[in-house]
């Protein structure tokens, strides 16, 4: 879209501010992680690696971190698959039932966390799911599902369905059409759904606090207990590690994937 130079400058500035706003609180974590004292004060004092050491050597931290990775990855996949399927179904349904079902699927987002958490806990006690990987994955998947649903639905709204017809006419079955035509074109939506799902699980605390047990703790549970009982900068160290890990992973990944698709104008 054409823009006046002034508009362009203003847009750039606004976005710069937004970007700073987005990353500033994350960056604050970095200096805090090198604090010499066991404190989350800012500005931090002294310099020390001890919190990183703590993260690496204390099994509570490292295992909970790995657990979170595991749970979040499974959740991301499961929720994305289920959510995308559902978004499709809804997209192809008559408006009325679709709206109803859509609402239903949004409930996990709306019900206050505690209320849901205790409900799920009661169910899990009966089903022997407390503190199990399955338990975590199922609960988090439910919580993540609405994000995937919404993100994918938004993309389906703007997707040109005539292309699916074209693919079918060329001999592509439903699945193939989906894989070769629909999927690549709504991929941005699915990817953002996937990210949301992963992040939801990775950061979920309220339900996790209830369904956790000594065998299986996720990172947020660990962070929570750490932060409620003592101001442990290990939390900041974890934050910093995540920050750099993601920057490298995402940045590197995107650079490696290389050339942007230039299909669409």
């Amino acid at each position: 879209m054409e823009m006046k130079p002034l508009t362009r400058v203003i847009l750039g500035l606004v976005c710069l501010l937004v970007a700073i706003w987005l990353v500033a609180p994350t960056l604050v974590v970095v200096p805090m992680s090198f604090n010499q004292n066991k404190s989350l004060a800012f500005p931090p004092q002294g310099f020390s690696w001890q919190w990183y050491q703590n993260f690496a050597t204390n099994p509570e931290w490292s295992t909970s971190f790995l657990n979170s990775l595991k749970v979040a990855s499974l959740v991301a996949v499961l929720a994305t698959v289920l959510g995308t399927l559902a978004a499709f179904g809804l997209d192809r349904m008559k408006a009325r039932p679709a709206n109803l079902l859509r609402m239903l699927m949004l409930t996990p987002m709306v019900v206050p966390g505690v209320v849901l958490a205790i409900g799920i806990y009661a169910v899990y006690l009966d089903a022997q799911l407390v503190g199990t990987l399955t338990g975590f994955v199922l609960a988090h998947t439910i919580l993540a599902l609405p994000f995937v649903l919404i993100a994918v639905s938004a993309n389906l709204e703007v997707f040109d369905r005539r292309l699916e017809t074209a693919a079918a006419s060329l001999g592509a079955g439903a699945l193939t059409t989906f894989r070769t035509v629909t999927l690549p074109l709504i991929l941005p939506g699915i990817l953002s759904g996937l990210l949301f799902a992963f992040a939801t699980s990775f950061d979920e605390i309220v339900v996790s606090l209830f369904i956790t047990n000594p065998y299986l703790k996720t990172l947020p549970v660990q962070i929570y207990s750490s932060i409620t009982r003592d101001a442990d900068p290990t939390v900041a160290a974890v934050g910093t590690i995540l920050l750099f890990a993601t920057t490298i992973l995402i940045g590197g990944g995107m650079l490696l994937l290389g050339r942007e698709r230039k299909g669409r104008l």
């Binding site: 404190s39 989350l40 806990y121 006690l125 407390v130 207990s225 409620t228 009982r229 003592d230 101001a231």
Partner: protein
């Protein structure tokens, strides 16, 4: 059967058994686990640590008849409020409570450790004329400045009683209607009052100097000072607080739970606990080796014990729900 002795464990008595001990995690629970190490080694029990303690979670277990927690460390009020409902009435013949300070053993609980809620003030702000008591804390004219109050959830009975005193009442004869009067005193502190939500936040408030007078847990106060906060405590009427050891209703092996608690109450266990966590032991014979900065905030010295203020349990337990509701209204800006 022999009278139990705190800290004594029968060799191999719990071999093959498993106990789940629930507390609040972090260094506190680490310390508790260390304190119980001897018990575990000797009895041969397998000890699992769980947490954090959520009463609602416990309730769900009790209601479903599927109780997986064997010994639970809780805040000070719940064992009184839910005594008999969620927590077993304790059979004191199975425990040695002789070394526990006066008046701390409840019907359903024994204390897990002591700490205090202490008034901390900014030394630089008040210099020569520091606040000395809760009365000063509530006096914004003589002592202007930002106050920080525990807003992490439940009301602190002791604080409300102090507030009620400021309003001219006598906590000993407090009635339900008086709760409002006490809360009004807090409300009058004005919009500048900070209600901190986590211990970490209170510590952070002290270290950054945001608040001039802070109601703080002693452990946090100690850490803040250690980290360079220019704050000092006013010990007069510090509020005695303790975590409680309880046994939930419906545990599979009650005796094993008793054995754990009894071991926990032992002198040596309590010394280990204090050294690891800097909380005050509840065995009066315990002599933990701690450095000066920690010692300064231990509450079990005779002096401290004299200055301490115990809340009126008899009043708060039945009125807990009412107080909570009124307190929530204050917290919600009403």
């Amino acid at each position: 059967q022999d009278k139990p002795v705190a800290g004594e464990v029968k060799e191999g008595s719990l071999k093959g058994k498993t106990l789940t001990f629930v507390s609040y995690g972090g260094i506190y629970q680490d310390g508790q686990a260390a304190a119980l190490k001897e018990f575990v080694d000797k009895s041969g029990v397998k000890l699992l640590n769980d947490g954090p303690t959520e009463i609602a979670k416990l309730q769900a277990q009790v209601e479903s008849g599927n109780v997986t927690w064997d010994v639970v460390d809780t805040d000070d009020l719940p064992p009184y409020v839910y005594c008999g409902k969620l927590f077993q009435k304790l059979d004191l013949t199975k425990l040695d409570v002789s070394k526990i300070p006066e008046g701390q053993v409840g019907e359903c609980s024994v204390p897990a450790m002591n700490y205090g809620v202490v008034l901390m003030y900014n030394k630089e702000k008040y210099k020569d004329n520091p606040p000395k008591s809760w009365a000063d804390f509530f006096d914004t004219e003589k002592f202007p400045g930002v106050r920080g109050i525990d807003g992490s959830g439940s009301p602190t009975g002791g604080l409300l009683e102090q507030a009620f005193k400021v309003a001219g009442g006598d906590p000993k004869t407090m009635t339900v209607a008086d709760i409002d009067k006490a809360i009004d005193v807090v409300r009058k502190l004005g919009p500048d009052t900070i209600f901190w939500k986590t211990g970490a936040e209170s510590q952070q408030l002290a270290e950054s100097g945001e608040a001039d007078m802070l109601m703080m847990w002693t452990g946090r106060a100690m850490t803040a000072v250690k980290n360079g906060a220019k704050y000092a405590p006013a010990w007069q009427d510090w509020l005695v607080v303790m975590d409680q050891m309880t046994i939930p209703v419906g545990v599979k092996d009650t005796d094993a739970s008793y054995a754990l608690i009894n071991a926990y109450l032992g002198k040596q266990s309590q010394e280990v606990l204090a050294e690891k966590t800097s909380y005050t032991p509840i065995n009066s014979e315990a002599q933990p080796k701690v450095d000066d900065s920690v010692a300064a905030f231990l509450t079990n010295t005779p002096d401290r014990q004299k200055q301490g203020y115990k809340q009126n349990f008899k009043f708060w337990v039945p009125n807990f729900a009412v107080a909570q509701e009124k307190w929530s209204a204050l917290m919600a800006g009403n």
